[in-house]
Amino acid sequence: MKEIEQPSRNNLEGLKGWLNPSRYGWERISYWFQRLTGVFLLIYFIGHVYETSTIVNGQNAWESFLELTQTVWGHLFLILVIGACTFHSANGIRLIFTHSGIGLGTPGRPDYPYSPSSLNYRQKSGIWIALILAAAAMYYGFNILFGE
Protein backbone atom coordinates (compact mmCIF):
# COMPACT_ATOMS: atom_id res chain seq x y z
CA MET A 1 0.00 0.00 0.00
CA LYS A 2 1.33 3.43 -0.90
CA GLU A 3 2.14 5.59 2.10
CA ILE A 4 0.08 8.76 2.39
CA GLU A 5 2.19 11.84 1.88
CA GLN A 6 2.55 13.85 5.08
CA PRO A 7 1.01 17.30 4.75
CA SER A 8 2.68 20.45 6.03
CA ARG A 9 2.16 20.89 9.80
CA ASN A 10 1.78 24.68 9.54
CA ASN A 11 -1.96 24.46 10.16
CA LEU A 12 -1.65 22.51 13.43
CA GLU A 13 -1.79 24.19 16.80
CA GLY A 14 -0.01 21.34 18.59
CA LEU A 15 -0.06 21.23 22.39
CA LYS A 16 -1.51 24.77 22.57
CA GLY A 17 -4.51 23.70 20.53
CA TRP A 18 -4.90 20.52 22.58
CA LEU A 19 -4.91 22.48 25.83
CA ASN A 20 -7.41 25.09 24.59
CA PRO A 21 -10.68 24.26 26.43
CA SER A 22 -12.71 26.97 24.64
CA ARG A 23 -14.63 26.90 21.35
CA TYR A 24 -16.17 23.42 21.78
CA GLY A 25 -18.30 23.65 24.96
CA TRP A 26 -18.68 21.16 27.80
CA GLU A 27 -17.73 18.14 25.71
CA ARG A 28 -14.35 19.69 24.98
CA ILE A 29 -13.78 20.38 28.69
CA SER A 30 -14.69 16.76 29.44
CA TYR A 31 -12.19 15.60 26.77
CA TRP A 32 -9.57 17.88 28.28
CA PHE A 33 -10.22 16.70 31.88
CA GLN A 34 -10.15 13.05 30.80
CA ARG A 35 -6.67 13.47 29.37
CA LEU A 36 -5.30 15.71 32.13
CA THR A 37 -6.60 13.42 34.90
CA GLY A 38 -5.23 10.42 32.99
CA VAL A 39 -1.72 11.89 32.74
CA PHE A 40 -1.88 13.06 36.38
CA LEU A 41 -2.99 9.60 37.58
CA LEU A 42 -0.22 7.86 35.63
CA ILE A 43 2.38 10.17 37.19
CA TYR A 44 0.87 9.46 40.63
CA PHE A 45 0.86 5.71 39.92
CA ILE A 46 4.57 5.71 38.98
CA GLY A 47 5.31 7.68 42.18
CA HIS A 48 3.14 5.30 44.22
CA VAL A 49 4.95 2.21 42.84
CA TYR A 50 8.27 3.85 43.76
CA GLU A 51 6.99 4.95 47.19
CA THR A 52 5.79 1.46 48.11
CA SER A 53 9.08 -0.07 46.95
CA THR A 54 10.83 1.59 49.91
CA ILE A 55 9.27 -1.07 52.18
CA VAL A 56 11.82 -3.54 50.75
CA ASN A 57 14.54 -1.63 52.68
CA GLY A 58 12.94 -2.27 56.05
CA GLN A 59 10.75 -0.53 58.63
CA ASN A 60 12.93 2.58 59.05
CA ALA A 61 13.05 3.28 55.31
CA TRP A 62 9.27 2.78 55.05
CA GLU A 63 8.48 5.04 57.99
CA SER A 64 10.85 7.82 56.96
CA PHE A 65 9.38 7.86 53.43
CA LEU A 66 5.86 7.79 54.89
CA GLU A 67 6.68 10.91 56.93
CA LEU A 68 7.17 12.79 53.66
CA THR A 69 3.68 11.92 52.44
CA GLN A 70 1.69 12.00 55.71
CA THR A 71 1.54 15.79 55.84
CA VAL A 72 -1.27 18.28 55.19
CA TRP A 73 0.03 18.86 51.65
CA GLY A 74 0.42 15.10 51.15
CA HIS A 75 -3.20 14.59 52.19
CA LEU A 76 -4.43 17.42 49.95
CA PHE A 77 -2.54 15.82 47.07
CA LEU A 78 -4.22 12.47 47.86
CA ILE A 79 -7.64 14.18 47.81
CA LEU A 80 -6.81 15.50 44.31
CA VAL A 81 -5.86 11.95 43.29
CA ILE A 82 -9.20 10.65 44.63
CA GLY A 83 -11.11 13.31 42.65
CA ALA A 84 -9.10 12.71 39.46
CA CYS A 85 -9.52 8.93 39.78
CA THR A 86 -13.30 9.16 40.30
CA PHE A 87 -13.83 11.61 37.43
CA HIS A 88 -11.62 9.60 35.07
CA SER A 89 -13.49 6.36 35.91
CA ALA A 90 -17.02 7.78 35.68
CA ASN A 91 -16.33 9.82 32.53
CA GLY A 92 -14.46 6.85 31.05
CA ILE A 93 -17.55 4.65 31.48
CA ARG A 94 -19.61 7.37 29.72
CA LEU A 95 -17.08 7.37 26.87
CA ILE A 96 -17.26 3.57 26.54
CA PHE A 97 -21.07 3.83 26.23
CA THR A 98 -20.70 6.66 23.73
CA HIS A 99 -18.16 4.72 21.67
CA SER A 100 -20.63 1.81 21.63
CA GLY A 101 -23.37 4.12 20.34
CA ILE A 102 -25.33 4.10 23.61
CA GLY A 103 -26.81 7.47 24.58
CA LEU A 104 -26.08 9.16 21.26
CA GLY A 105 -29.70 9.46 20.15
CA THR A 106 -30.98 9.00 16.62
CA PRO A 107 -29.87 11.10 13.65
CA GLY A 108 -32.27 13.91 12.83
CA ARG A 109 -32.72 16.66 10.27
CA PRO A 110 -30.31 19.52 11.00
CA ASP A 111 -32.51 22.45 11.97
CA TYR A 112 -31.55 25.84 13.35
CA PRO A 113 -29.68 26.34 15.78
CA TYR A 114 -28.03 23.15 14.48
CA SER A 115 -27.33 21.53 17.85
CA PRO A 116 -25.81 18.11 17.12
CA SER A 117 -28.13 15.34 18.38
CA SER A 118 -25.12 13.36 19.65
CA LEU A 119 -24.31 16.06 22.22
CA ASN A 120 -27.66 15.61 23.94
CA TYR A 121 -28.77 15.85 27.57
CA ARG A 122 -27.65 12.24 28.23
CA GLN A 123 -24.07 13.11 27.34
CA LYS A 124 -24.16 16.39 29.26
CA SER A 125 -25.71 14.80 32.35
CA GLY A 126 -23.04 12.07 32.14
CA ILE A 127 -20.34 14.73 32.43
CA TRP A 128 -22.15 16.36 35.35
CA ILE A 129 -22.58 12.99 37.11
CA ALA A 130 -18.81 12.38 36.75
CA LEU A 131 -18.06 15.82 38.24
CA ILE A 132 -20.54 15.35 41.13
CA LEU A 133 -19.18 11.86 41.92
CA ALA A 134 -15.63 13.27 41.93
CA ALA A 135 -16.67 16.03 44.35
CA ALA A 136 -18.45 13.50 46.62
CA ALA A 137 -15.41 11.18 46.62
CA MET A 138 -13.11 14.11 47.45
CA TYR A 139 -15.39 15.08 50.35
CA TYR A 140 -15.34 11.48 51.64
CA GLY A 141 -11.55 11.36 51.26
CA PHE A 142 -11.24 14.67 53.12
CA ASN A 143 -13.22 13.24 56.06
CA ILE A 144 -11.06 10.10 56.17
CA LEU A 145 -7.74 11.94 55.94
CA PHE A 146 -8.52 14.97 58.10
CA GLY A 147 -11.37 13.65 60.23
CA GLU A 148 -9.28 11.70 62.74
Binding site: M1, G14, W18, G38, L42, V49, Y50, Q70
Partner: protein, 118 residues
Protein backbone atom coordinates in the same frame (compact mmCIF):
# COMPACT_ATOMS: atom_id res chain seq x y z
CA UNK B 1 4.88 1.00 2.87
CA UNK B 2 2.94 -1.87 4.47
CA UNK B 3 1.69 -1.38 8.01
CA UNK B 4 3.10 -4.06 10.32
CA UNK B 5 1.03 -3.39 13.44
CA UNK B 6 0.20 -6.58 15.36
CA UNK B 7 -3.13 -5.18 16.55
CA UNK B 8 -5.63 -2.86 14.89
CA UNK B 9 -6.38 0.42 16.69
CA UNK B 10 -9.96 -0.79 17.29
CA UNK B 11 -8.57 -3.86 19.10
CA UNK B 12 -6.19 -1.69 21.14
CA UNK B 13 -9.15 0.53 22.15
CA UNK B 14 -11.02 -2.58 23.35
CA UNK B 15 -7.97 -3.52 25.46
CA UNK B 16 -7.94 0.07 26.77
CA UNK B 17 -11.59 -0.14 27.82
CA UNK B 18 -11.33 -3.65 29.34
CA UNK B 19 -8.21 -2.74 31.35
CA UNK B 20 -9.92 0.50 32.50
CA UNK B 21 -13.09 -1.27 33.72
CA UNK B 22 -11.10 -4.10 35.36
CA UNK B 23 -8.80 -1.56 37.05
CA UNK B 24 -11.82 0.15 38.67
CA UNK B 25 -12.71 -3.12 40.46
CA UNK B 26 -9.22 -4.08 41.62
CA UNK B 27 -8.35 -0.52 42.71
CA UNK B 28 -11.64 -0.49 44.68
CA UNK B 29 -10.50 -3.65 46.55
CA UNK B 30 -7.09 -2.04 47.15
CA UNK B 31 -8.73 1.09 48.63
CA UNK B 32 -11.12 -1.03 50.73
CA UNK B 33 -8.09 -2.76 52.30
CA UNK B 34 -7.01 0.70 53.54
CA UNK B 35 -10.50 1.48 54.89
CA UNK B 36 -11.42 -1.73 56.76
CA UNK B 37 -9.00 -0.64 59.49
CA UNK B 38 -8.31 2.93 60.71
CA UNK B 39 -6.36 4.77 57.99
CA UNK B 40 -3.22 5.36 60.11
CA UNK B 41 -3.11 1.67 61.11
CA UNK B 42 -3.47 0.63 57.46
CA UNK B 43 -0.12 2.27 56.68
CA UNK B 44 1.81 0.60 59.51
CA UNK B 45 4.78 -1.52 58.46
CA UNK B 46 3.53 -4.80 60.00
CA UNK B 47 0.06 -4.40 58.51
CA UNK B 48 1.50 -3.76 55.03
CA UNK B 49 3.82 -6.78 55.31
CA UNK B 50 0.87 -8.97 56.37
CA UNK B 51 -1.03 -7.72 53.28
CA UNK B 52 1.84 -8.81 51.04
CA UNK B 53 1.79 -12.30 52.63
CA UNK B 54 -1.85 -12.78 51.63
CA UNK B 55 -1.79 -14.51 48.23
CA UNK B 56 -5.24 -13.14 47.28
CA UNK B 57 -4.09 -9.59 47.95
CA UNK B 58 -0.79 -10.17 46.12
CA UNK B 59 -2.80 -11.20 43.03
CA UNK B 60 -4.89 -8.03 43.38
CA UNK B 61 -1.71 -5.89 43.61
CA UNK B 62 -0.16 -7.56 40.56
CA UNK B 63 -3.44 -7.10 38.65
CA UNK B 64 -3.49 -3.40 39.53
CA UNK B 65 0.11 -3.07 38.39
CA UNK B 66 -0.50 -4.73 35.02
CA UNK B 67 -3.95 -3.23 34.31
CA UNK B 68 -3.09 0.36 35.28
CA UNK B 69 0.28 0.22 33.47
CA UNK B 70 -1.26 -1.09 30.24
CA UNK B 71 -4.18 1.38 30.45
CA UNK B 72 -2.04 4.34 31.50
CA UNK B 73 0.76 3.97 28.98
CA UNK B 74 -1.69 3.22 26.17
CA UNK B 75 -3.49 6.43 27.17
CA UNK B 76 -0.22 8.34 26.85
CA UNK B 77 0.33 6.72 23.44
CA UNK B 78 -3.16 7.84 22.32
CA UNK B 79 -2.51 11.42 23.48
CA UNK B 80 0.86 11.53 21.70
CA UNK B 81 -0.70 10.17 18.49
CA UNK B 82 -3.37 12.88 18.68
CA UNK B 83 -0.63 15.52 18.68
CA UNK B 84 1.25 14.28 15.64
CA UNK B 85 0.72 11.64 12.97
CA UNK B 86 3.45 10.03 10.93
CA UNK B 87 4.99 6.57 10.76
CA UNK B 88 8.25 7.42 12.57
CA UNK B 89 6.44 9.21 15.41
CA UNK B 90 3.94 6.36 15.74
CA UNK B 91 6.70 3.73 15.92
CA UNK B 92 8.75 5.77 18.38
CA UNK B 93 5.71 6.40 20.61
CA UNK B 94 4.75 2.71 20.61
CA UNK B 95 8.29 1.56 21.46
CA UNK B 96 8.77 4.15 24.24
CA UNK B 97 5.38 3.52 25.90
CA UNK B 98 5.68 -0.30 25.74
CA UNK B 99 9.24 -0.12 27.16
CA UNK B 100 8.13 2.17 30.01
CA UNK B 101 5.15 -0.10 30.71
CA UNK B 102 7.37 -3.21 30.91
CA UNK B 103 9.89 -1.38 33.13
CA UNK B 104 7.17 -0.24 35.57
CA UNK B 105 5.55 -3.70 35.73
CA UNK B 106 8.97 -5.30 36.31
CA UNK B 107 9.86 -2.80 39.07
CA UNK B 108 6.51 -3.22 40.85
CA UNK B 109 6.64 -7.01 40.54
CA UNK B 110 10.12 -6.97 42.07
CA UNK B 111 8.69 -5.13 45.13
CA UNK B 112 5.82 -7.63 45.45
CA UNK B 113 8.15 -10.65 45.24
CA UNK B 114 10.73 -9.21 47.65
CA UNK B 115 8.17 -8.09 50.27
CA UNK B 116 6.33 -11.41 50.00
CA UNK B 117 9.61 -13.12 50.94
CA UNK B 118 10.39 -10.85 53.94
Amino acid sequence: MESHSILKESQIMKIHYVTGIAAIFVVAVHILMRLIVPFELSLEYDYIISNYKNIFYVLILESILVLVSVHGFNGIRIILLELRQNKAWENMTTIVTISAMIALIAYGTRTIILVNGL
